[in-house]
């Protein structure tokens, strides 16, 4: 739709601009609404978020390379050339999520800040930041939907990635709206969830289910696939399983404690 913008004669990719705007908006929301519920300084929150961003960059890049490891195996002769093109290539959200958590964990352990409280602070803002990223996908034309002729179909005319002139399902916009709804749910329930893991479990289940379903509406062919599901669907299933197991075990523990 709008892959680049012209800023003082310099063309800037919209995807990166929207990701940066998303992070800044997320940070403002965290500082203004969530930080007051926990005893962590704003400086520590900023530092931890930066460690999280660094972890997210490394993690999303590593998962991207891992999902395309078959390409590396098939082209062992040109391994360095392929690896270099992968370094210049894309990022995977789930890898970023895991890398970000590891980054925040490293910060919390190094500077003796509560890891649980940091995660509880940052998690509700993740779907908001992610929504901006998905709008960035829409602008760039990447992560496009399957071929579709019904209501709301999107036809890219000057995309750098999606085939131009063909109607597609607006999966990026749908995922952005879903992320905004998830953010709204987490925002509205935040006060009741302070100090508990409810926000994290709620986010993990809601996003994983959304992602699992929306993967069927995507048309881009470059995603990693194992057996009959895409990589992100496998990861979604694992996360849903872990979340449900946590809910079951915590309920069991509460019942035993009450008895």
């Amino acid at each position: 739709m709008l892959p680049t913008i012209n800023l003082f004669g310099v063309l800037i990719p919209m995807y990166g601009v929207l990701v940066v705007i998303g992070i800044i908006v997320g940070l403002i929301i965290i500082m203004k609404f969530f930080a007051k519920h926990y005893n962590i300084s704003k400086e520590d929150i900023l530092h931890a978020l930066i460690f999280g961003i660094i972890g997210a960059i490394v993690g999303s890049k590593l998962l991207y390379i891992l999902t395309n490891v078959n390409v590396l195996i098939e082209n062992v002769g040109n391994i360095w050339q392929i690896l270099l093109s992968m370094v210049n290539g894309g990022f995977v959200f789930y890898g970023g999520l895991v890398g970000g958590v590891i980054g925040i964990f490293i910060y919390s352990k190094t500077y003796k800040v509560s890891f649980k409280e940091l995660i509880l602070l940052i998690v509700p803002a993740i779907p908001l930041m992610h929504a901006f990223g998905r709008i960035g996908c829409f602008c760039a034309g990447c992560c496009y939907g399957c071929e579709y002729n019904g209501f709301g179909a999107i036809t890219f005319m000057n995309s750098l990635v999606a085939p131009n002139g063909e109607p597609f399902f607006p999966v990026q916009i749908i995922e952005a709206i879903c992320n905004l709804i998830i953010f709204w749910i987490l925002f509205m329930t935040y006060k009741k969830c302070v100090g508990t893991n409810t926000s994290i479990i709620l986010y993990m289940i809601l996003y994983s289910v959304t992602r699992f379903v929306l993967e069927y509406f995507r048309g881009d062919v470059v995603r990693g696939r194992f057996l009959w599901l895409y990589t992100s669907q496998w990861i979604s299933l694992i996360i849903i399983g872990i979340s449900l197991a946590y809910l079951f075990l915590s309920n069991l523990y509460k019942k035993q404690k009450n008895n």
Binding site: P13, G16, I50, I54, N88, C137, A140, Y144, L160
Partner: protein, 88 residues
């Protein structure tokens, strides 16, 4: 650490204008980590300057480099080319 952070912060901002976005990303990440370590150990103006410059470097290079999995480097490479062409 504060001096190293400041130097890396300056490098990370400057190399963006030379089109070396990956160099900027790496130097800004190292500059940020050193800046945070310096600020936690002994807060100083130099450490804060290094920290802020590294953030600016990370934002500038991030805008160009960050691309989604679907783009397979097309946006990144094209974005870099477009900017290099624009600067030239």
């Amino acid at each position: 650490m504060a001096v190293a952070s400041l130097v890396l912060g300056i490098v990370s901002v400057v190399v963006n204008f030379l089109g070396l976005f990956w160099v900027s990303l790496v130097t800004s990440i190292i500059g940020l980590i050193l800046g945070i370590m310096a600020r936690k150990k002994a807060p100083s103006g130099m450490a804060t300057a290094g920290f802020v410059l590294s953030i600016i470097g990370l934002v500038l290079s991030g805008i160009i480099i960050v691309a989604c999995v679907g783009s397979i480097g097309i946006i990144t490479n094209l974005g870099s080319d477009l900017i290099n062409n624009s600067l030239n």
